[in-house]
């Protein structure tokens, strides 16, 4: 993969410049070797400019009506495969009729600055926070530079932070109570690498998002923050229950639903976790509550930082925790909604979950695919990242559900 500037090739012996007629490939769209990228008008006729490799058009640097001189930049592309300069030019389209003795020169591709995409420092920092890879992201800044807003886009007007990376069909990630988008760790990067656009949200009252008083408001805000068009949803714990409710609202737009240790399937929820999280006033106390997640040990420094973050958000999170469970009893039931959903649904549980009882999967509708991760705790998706990435792309279950 490499990011390169495509320049206007010589398309006829006497040609020194050409006027852009029309682009046939849109920014962000992929193209195959030999696809016509755009049509230009030379001193003689209208000529097609073909692609020499497979790739993605990152940006059109000239527009219809622009007159472009020979060897001047026309597009920025992400190309795949080997040595671009050595690539054999395809035969020109019939109507260009070049003289037989003047073979077409290949479009001159110059490496921009290696494979490193142009991005502002703020965008790189945002990408690091999300764990996202900037490669393939469409930059909206100066000279196609990726801005922080391209990575982290607050789409809704209600203060829901959406950390976006990658290009492709959007996969929306909804984390659990007391967590934020960083809790997905490597997953966004892995999904981007697999060709998805990832939208990792901070739930209201978590991370960079403003707090909300109740779950209905939470759902309203998340729904407002989502892009239009089809989506795939991955939810963990509370985020799992929210994903189900969201899928109900969005109807056919959701074509895949993956729930990792979702709440709302059984009667009990370990109150030691919720109450321990809300009451923790020392790093050690926080560490004891977090240990119930089964995510492994954390350093004292990390715990102290986490505690400071938690304390700033505690008021808003207490209200949501109360809406999820009271006195160890869950206040949400998603089994009914799941029965009504038509999209394929997969549920992951860890057999060592200390917060929810994995046996609750027995309450799931029969069409739901269930993956039990032996020995995993309340974060089974972290223990089975490969599985999860594969599930997002897998549509076999749709066929099963459709039967």
């Amino acid at each position: 993969m490499g990011r390169v500037i495509l320049t206007l090739p010589r398309l006829g012996e006497t040609m020194e410049e050409a006027k852009v007629v029309e682009w046939l490939v849109a920014p962000g769209a992929a193209f195959k070797r030999g696809d016509v990228l755009l049509e230009v008008e030379t001193d003689k006729t209208v000529v097609e400019v073909p692609a020499l490799t497979d790739g993605v058009l990152l940006g059109q640097l000239v527009g219809p009506g622009d007159t472009v001189a020979l060897d001047q930049p026309i597009a920025e592309i992400e190309h795949e495969g080997g040595d671009v300069v050595a690539a054999t030019p395809p035969m020109p389209a019939q109507e260009t009729a070049p003289s037989a003795t003047a073979p077409l020169a290949a479009p001159v591709l110059t490496l921009a600055s290696g494979p490193r995409p142009a991005a502002s420092p703020a965008a790189r920092a945002a990408a690091r926070r999300v764990g996202a890879d900037l490669t393939g992201l469409q930059g909206s800044g100066r000279r196609g530079r990726i801005t922080a807003a391209d990575v982290t886009l607050t789409l809704g007007g209600d203060g829901v932070a959406v950390h976006r990376s990658g290009a492709g069909l959007p996969v929306v990630l909804l984390h659990g109570l007391f967590d934020d988008h960083r809790g997905w760790r490597d997953l966004p990067r892995r999904l981007v690498a697999a060709g998805h656009a990832v939208l990792a949200l901070d739930l209201p009252g978590h991370g960079d998002s403003a707090s909300a008083p109740d779950l209905e408001t939470v759902l309203d805000r998340i729904a407002a923050a989502l892009p239009s068009g089809p989506l795939r949803l991955i939810g963990h714990s509370l985020g799992g229950a929210l994903a189900v409710r969201l899928a109900m609202r969005l109807g056919g737009r959701v074509d895949r639903l993956i729930l990792s240790a979702p709440v709302g399937l059984g009667p009990r929820l370990n109150a030691d976790f919720t109450e321990g999280m809300l009451a923790a006033d020392t790093p050690a106390a926080l560490g004891r509550a977090l240990a119930l997640l089964g995510a492994g040990p954390m350093s004292a420094t990390a715990l102290a930082a986490e505690l400071a973050r938690m304390q700033a958000l505690r008021a808003g999170q207490a209200a949501l925790a109360h809406a999820v469970a009271q006195g160890g009893f869950q206040q949400i039931d998603i089994a009914g909604d799941l029965a009504r959903l038509t999209c394929p649904v997969t549920v992951l549980f860890g057999t060592d979950d200390c917060i929810l009882d994995w046996h609750c999967v027995a309450n799931l509708p029969a069409a739901t695919a269930i993956h039990l991760i032996r020995g995993a705790g309340h974060l089974p998706h972290l223990a089975a990242v490969d599985l999860l990435v594969g599930l997002v792309a897998d549509t076999r279950e749709r066929r099963i559900a459709a039967v």
């Binding site: 502002s120 420092p121 703020a122 965008a123 790189r124 920092a125 800044g141 100066r142 922080a148």
Partner: protein, 332 residues
Amino acid sequence: MTETTYRDAIRQALLDAMQADPSVILIGEEVGLYGGAYGVTKGLIDLFGPDRVIDAPISEAAIVGAAVGAAMTGLRPVAELMYVDFIGMTMDQLANQAAKSRYMFGGQIGVPMVLRTQGGTGRSAAAQHSQSLEAWVLHTPGLRLIMPATVNDAYHLLRQSLTQSDPVVFIEHKGLYTMKGALDVDMPDGPWGQPVTRRKGRDLVIISYSRMLHESLAAADRLAASGVEAEVIDLRCLNPMDDAPLIEAVKRTGRAMVVTEAVVTGSVASEIAARLGEVCFDWLEEPVLRVGGEDIPIPVSPALERGSIPSATLIHDTALWLVTRKAPTWAA
């Protein structure tokens, strides 16, 4: 609260300080009978006499050197350098003597003096009477550096300078002397050493000082008409300087521009841009821009002089380009 000029605010500060503290003396060329080349010390010799308002021969090095000695021995001298351009002649006394005495002598001998001077363009005074040489001072540890932009700051920063234990270089701007503004002798614009935000904005931060603050504010007004909200910060104290407010603002907006009248290479703007680049790197959407004087001596021709330093238009155009990517007519 009174309405007065920048010149009279400085005069008032000198007068009040001399009344409050009998150790304060003035020494410089034409500070007495003439009343200062720009009229700042007018009448002070009548109030305080020639022992405290001392007309000196045209001997800049010795004027500053004498101030150093007076400060070492209990007085609090205000030496006046008629033009900051003359600082070259005093540089040994300033940079090697005043600045370093406390350190070299193990903390025994401080030099609590103020060097008042003025700089800047605007009068076609040519290459040796128009410079902005604050960077020369900034490069010398041991010197404090103050450049007031407002009437209130002209008063308070000078009063505060006259309470410091170390040498302060206080650089006024010749183009601001007749500027009118509010003076509240009880209320400084901000604490010693801290920048003041003169205008709030969300899209970019314009950091400036001295006369360029006013060009920056004028540019910000015009930017607002285009829907771009610029935050404008006045540095005031270049050393000591608390850069925390700059950093906070840049982290908030992701875009910053530092405006100076001095030649841009090796300028205060360069220093600030470097600091912001270091500290705010992960918050920056664009490079921190320096807008300053061209890297040339100041030409005498009025059109060339004007063209060699930033204007509100240049600041506006550059900021608009930075934020909205709308290129100005002068884009190369």
